[in-house]
């Protein structure tokens, strides 16, 4: 029977939740890296027991950790198993070095001045679809790094910052590169998104990039309707069967593109509010998408204290509220951009975590929900692995 493994990054450690194919009974394992901010964990599609994790601290900086046994044990990449044997055994890996390539340069700061790029942390790690030793990492201040040696060393794909990087500016949560989407049909095509710069695409494996933000509107913050960058994209999502179709949750507005980002159109439709953070696509229905509307950019909690996932089975515009099993009063949590994921079982499972420490699972495409855990630290990220 299939097994589900949920990788949860929280403000105070990482947790691994495992359940069987029924997705009713769960085992909670953790905290791993207790007390550290765990921005993101993700398994390699090519070798699911290899999991990369971003471990960060405002005091002690950035560490990359790696597990090769499905999260049972962890080491900074570069540590050989023999290094850990004996009472003096310790990790030898040195995997926390992220250095911008060449002239560091400047970007636009909150006050409109130019500010030097400063590495702060890794927000998101995206392992290669085919090679367990290759992964991309999205940084704050926004940049894209690549490893080809299992996370031991990282090198910036600096062409990205050449895509009008001097005009990018941080959102309230920092200038983070938070989304990395790999085209399964074309290894040279990658999409990324940055707050608050927008979405970008490469068609040459990361050497050169261009903004793909036509159709995005931010009436007050960005009066120029043709602005190529400066858009506060919160998340983009793709179904692997249609890599040219993308769905976006922007600061305000939900949008889609059917031509790989050349043009976006709004599909917010009847949502109670089009502000939110995550967006994801059903594993088997490319036109079924999920968002979690949040009241506003000032309050960052669900409208009316009701936690509702909204599902569209028409690729947007027509949305239905999914509420069964979710709190429908006095709920004032948020769901962050990297905290929603789907499994690939039939029917599709949908998962999300909240800033209140709950992780909810739906075993039936969102019709009903159950809490997997209720009292974790604030959840930053949720990824799901469907295992044989």
């Amino acid at each position: 029977m299939s097994k589900i493994r949920i990788l949860v990054g929280t403000k105070k450690g990482a947790f691994i939740l495992t359940g069987d194919g029924k997705r009713q009974n769960w085992e909670v394992n953790g905290p791993h890296f207790a007390g550290w901010e765990m921005y993101h964990l993700k398994g390699s599609p090519a070798e699911p027991n290899r999991i990369y994790a971003s471990q960060t601290s405002g005091w002690f900086g950035q560490i990359i950790q790696r597990s090769d046994d499905g999260g049972k044990t962890w080491n900074p990449p570069g540590t050989k198993p023999e290094d850990l044997i004996g009472p003096g055994g310790m990790p030898k890996g040195e995997s926390n070095m992220f250095v911008y390539e060449g002239e560091v340069g400047t970007h636009k700061f909150y006050d409109g001045s130019q500010h030097p790029w400063e590495f702060k942390r890794i927000w998101h790690i995206e392992p290669s679809l085919t090679d367990p030793d290759t992964a991309l990492a999205g940084a704050e201040d926004a940049a894209l790094f690549k490893t080809v040696d299992g996370g031991k060393t990282w090198k910036e794909l600096s062409g990205l910052r050449g895509a009008k990087g001097h005009l990018w500016q941080p959102g309230a949560g920092g200038m983070g590169l938070h989304t990395i989407l790999l085209d399964p049909n074309n290894a040279n095509r990658i999409y990324i998104a940055i707050s608050a710069a927008g979405a970008f695409r490469t068609d040459d494996g990361g050497k050169t990039w261009r903004p793909i933000n036509r159709g995005l509107k931010s009436q007050y913050e960005l009066p120029d309707p043709d602005a190529e960058v400066g858009h506060c994209v919160h998340r983009i999502a793709m179904h692997p069967s249609r890599p040219g179709v993308l769905f976006m949750q922007k600061h305000w507005d939900v949008l889609r593109t059917d031509n790989a980002g050349e043009q976006w159109q709004e599909v917010s439709g009847n949502l109670p509010t089009d502000f939110g953070f995550p967006i994801d696509v059903h594993a088997h229905e490319p036109e079924t998408i999920y968002v979690v509307p949040i009241k506003s950019d000032s309050e960052h909690f669900p409208p009316d204290g009701k936690l509702r996932v909204y599902r569209s089975r028409t690729g947007g515009n027509e949305w239905e509220a999914l509420t069964k099993g979710l709190p429908q009063k006095d709920c004032y949590v948020n769901v962050l951009r990297d905290a929603m994921a789907v499994d690939s079982l039939e029917p599709c499972g949908v998962y999300f975590g909240t800033t209140g420490g709950q992780v909810y699972a739906s075993p039936d495409s969102g019709d009903t929900w159950n809490p997997v855990v209720r009292d974790l630290p604030a959840v930053y990220s949720v990824e799901v692995q469907t295992l044989p």
Partner: protein
């Protein structure tokens, strides 16, 4: 041998308990001690000092013999009591955040 006390999170990262003993060749300064510490425990590189500039991270402080050495130049020689091992060199995560 010089005794170094690491903050909790760096002890768990380096997988050590209590104080660590570090041997320093030549003059014992803040810099030479941290160089030796990072050589012995590579996983600590970048967690106390910036990888490239080797500047102390903003919320890390150094103490020894009841003195705050955080703002001293890196080439400052450490007190004899630290060099002899009688007193530890403390690396501390600063209280910050309200």
């Amino acid at each position: 041998m010089i005794n170094v006390v690491l903050p909790h999170h760096l002890r768990t990262l380096a997988r050590v308990d209590g104080e660590v003993q570090i041997e320093v060749k030549g003059p014992v300064t803040v810099r030479s001690l941290l160089d030796a510490l990072e050589s012995r425990y590579p996983v600590l590189r970048g967690t106390i000092r910036d990888h490239v500039t080797l500047r102390r991270r903003p919320f890390v402080r150094y103490f020894a013999c009841k003195e705050d050495l955080s703002l001293e130049p890196p080439e400052t020689r450490l007190p004899d009591a630290v060099v002899s091992g009688a007193e530890p060199f403390l690396i501390v995560g600063a209280m910050a955040g309200g």
